[in-house]
């Protein structure tokens, strides 16, 4: 059965981002109209029944997250929409905000109503300036049409949605770091507990949800939880956006249900490998998850199935690599990223990432010794589980995963004293700006 996109059905049409288009061709705030007469708790129950899992990376059930938000408190409550989208290989929220912003705005309003918040902040990464412009202009229209602001649709419910622009920090995608950044501080994670549901933004109860997660909320309210659970495998229901990049013919964002296999995504949707070269490895969920091999291509791309084969669906950012990619170089490239983005709060991550990068650069340059390989393994193992947020585990993953699957490549670098797989698409001079 052919899958009919719901999140991205219209994104290729001119003006798909406008309020008029949204009203004519999509739900057009009908979900908000349907939600406002309901009890807030009924909406939370619907989201729980749908089994919607967070699309930002962790896959945590959204309904539960909302239920944890403290109810009996005189403090205001907040929704923070995580639009920081900075996991390497991920670019789906970008598409939603740019081409379908009203779905997100409607999602924000319904979510606010469900948890009893009156304000939602959309934390957008600083590099998405052009997206922010669209979003702010469309928010303005939603206000004027009465879908936001005071006494929405005559229900007595007030809701404001604001865009907050970040300024270049991967760590701001971690929920407590995002809150810190929203409060005007360095984006560094907090010690948990207390979780944001109890003490989040300005120490008030807060739910932090990804853009794609919130975009699913109006669809569930409108079509019912059953419709949602029927799309895709058990506990992995609903439409899902997959970002496919790397050595494929047609990189892009593709919507599918989570029973679609990695093979269908790469060879179907993304058109297969460039120049039909053999596939060497896939990162299935953004740079922070373990690699998968060609023999795992027939795994359905769902949270649970990908976990079963030893990786994570994460943010569904598939990075596809052909046989020209040196796995030591890959780990070095990603550790350069993690070294740069480590917020510096926890010592194992701050020092460990720098150390790992230096070791990898040495091995890649052909100057490594075999004891460096043990050291790489030791240092990365000592980061895992020893940091406040998941960043540390994420940073160690490219090293641990490539060493587990491609140890002979590391050994060849040491033995031959050079990179054994220098690709033509890499710089001729190594380490231009380290």
């Amino acid at each position: 059965m052919a899958y009919e996109p719901v999140l991205t059905k219209h994104i290729n049409q001119p003006n798909s981002y406008t309020l008029d288009f949204y009203v004519e061709n999509q739900s057009g705030y009908q979900a908000l109209r349907k939600a406002l007469p309901l009890q807030p708790n009924d909406i939370i129950e619907q989201i729980k029944a749908s089994g919607l899992r967070g699309r930002g990376g962790a896959g945590f059930p959204t309904g539960m997250k909302w239920q944890f938000v403290l109810k009996d408190t005189p403090k205001p409550k907040y929704i923070c929409c995580n639009a920081d989208e900075s996991e390497p290989g991920t670019f789906k929220d970008h598409v939603l905000m740019e081409r379908n912003p009203h779905l997100l705005i409607e999602g924000c309003a319904i979510s606010c109503y469900a948890i009893g918040a009156k304000v939602a902040y959309i934390y957008i990464r600083g590099e998405f300036y052009h997206v922010q412009q669209i979003l702010e202009a469309e928010l303005e229209k939603a206000y004027r049409a009465g879908y936001l602001g005071r006494n929405i649709l005559g229900s007595g419910f007030d809701c404001d949605v604001y865009v907050h622009r970040g300024a270049g920090a991967y760590e701001a995608g971690e929920e407590t770091a995002l809150i810190e950044s929203l409060e005007g501080k360095r984006a560094q994670p907090r010690i948990k507990p207390p979780f944001p549901a109890v003490a989040g933004l300005y120490q008030c109860p807060t739910a932090v949800n990804n853009v794609e997660t919130l975009c699913n909320v109006p669809l569930i309210v409108l079509n019912g939880p059953e419709w949602f659970t029927k799309l895709g495998p058990e506990k992995n229901g609903g439409p899902k956006l997959f970002c496919i990049s790397g050595h494929v013919k047609n990189p892009g964002v593709y919507e599918a249900s989570m029973d679609t296999t990695l093979r269908e995504l790469i060879y179907g949707h993304a058109g297969g490998m460039i120049d039909d070269r053999p596939l060497k490895a896939i990162i299935p969920g953004g740079s922070s998850v373990p690699l998968l091999l060609p023999e795992q291509l027939d795994t359905p791309a769902s949270f649970d199935h990908i976990q079963k084969v030893g990786s994570l669906l994460g943010s569904a950012g598939l990075i596809v690599m052909n046989d020209t990619v040196c796995m030591v170089w890959l780990a070095m490239n990603l550790l350069h990223f993690y070294r740069h983005e480590s917020c510096g709060k926890c010592t194992p991550c701050r020092e460990g990432c720098d150390w790992l990068f230096k070791l990898l650069a040495r091995v890649e340059a052909g100057e490594g010794q075999s004891k460096d390989l043990d050291l790489l393994f030791g240092v990365s193992s000592n980061i895992v589980g020893k940091t406040l947020c998941a960043f540390g585990d994420a940073a160690a993953t490219p090293v641990l995963s490539t060493m587990k699957l491609f140890r002979p490549e590391y050994e060849a670098h040491v033995r031959e004293g050079r990179c054994t797989l220098p690709a033509e698409w890499r710089a001729s001079r190594l380490a231009l700006a380290h």
Binding site: G89, H130, K249, R426, A433
Partner: protein, 207 residues
């Protein structure tokens, strides 16, 4: 690898360049006053990133004077402002060129030639990443993932984007940018009306 070399133990706090006295233009003051109303009255500090963007847009980069002005606007100390400025990558504490070329160097872009794009830009401009050319036109920077991996390699030019810049197109790209300004950039493909949203790897593109 040397264990804990001496430079690890050297502590040197670099003071921001002090610059001239700084104050928002009336226009920027009005923008700030409007923005700060998005947050609860006792949470003015939430507007700090916005306040810094305004100051940077007004002056090109952030000096000690600008940071003190932002501190005054927010109602916090200048040290707190410096704390924030030094954390985020999109704030500059030194003058930059008219066009800041931020080449994405992370995996998806690197797989399609980003390293060679940086190399070609570096060669053409005669500068290393992190430097500004003598005419003050271009600053070359390597940045981490920009979130546009399907259009690799991507270069962010100030707040605008250039998508799918092949290493061989670098000279023409620089020439066009110099001659015609930001209109010569591709921009974000999603931003261009009528363009397809996904897939669509154009003919004759790529590196």
């Amino acid at each position: 690898m040397e264990y804990a070399p001496a430079r690890f133990h050297a502590s040197a706090r670099t003071q921001p360049e002090q610059g001239d006295d700084f104050a928002y233009t009336p226009e920027n003051q009005a923008k700030f006053d409007a923005n700060v109303r998005r947050y609860p009255p006792e949470q003015r500090k939430s507007a700090i990133l916005y306040a810094l963007y305004l100051a940077q847009a007004q002056q090109g980069y952030l000096t000690g004077g600008a940071m003190r002005h932002v501190a005054h606007q927010i109602g916090c100390t200048a040290a707190e402002v410096e704390d924030v400025v030094s954390y985020y990558t999109m704030f500059f504490t030194k003058p930059v060129g008219r066009y800041v070329l931020n080449v994405c160097r992370t995996l998806s872009c690197a797989l399609l030639g980003a390293e060679r794009v940086t190399e070609a830009l570096s060669e053409a401009l005669g500068i290393r990443p992190g430097e500004t050319d003598p005419t003050g036109t271009f600053t070359l920077l390597e940045v981490e993932c920009l979130g546009a991996c399907d259009r690799a390699p991507v270069v962010m030019v100030n707040d605008d984007w250039q998508e799918r810049l092949a290493p061989g197109q670098v000279l023409d790209f620089l020439h066009q940018l110099h001659a015609r300004g930001p209109v010569s950039l591709t921009g974000c493909h999603l931003h261009r009306e009528g363009d397809r949203g996904t897939g669509d790897r154009g003919k004759g593109e790529g590196g």
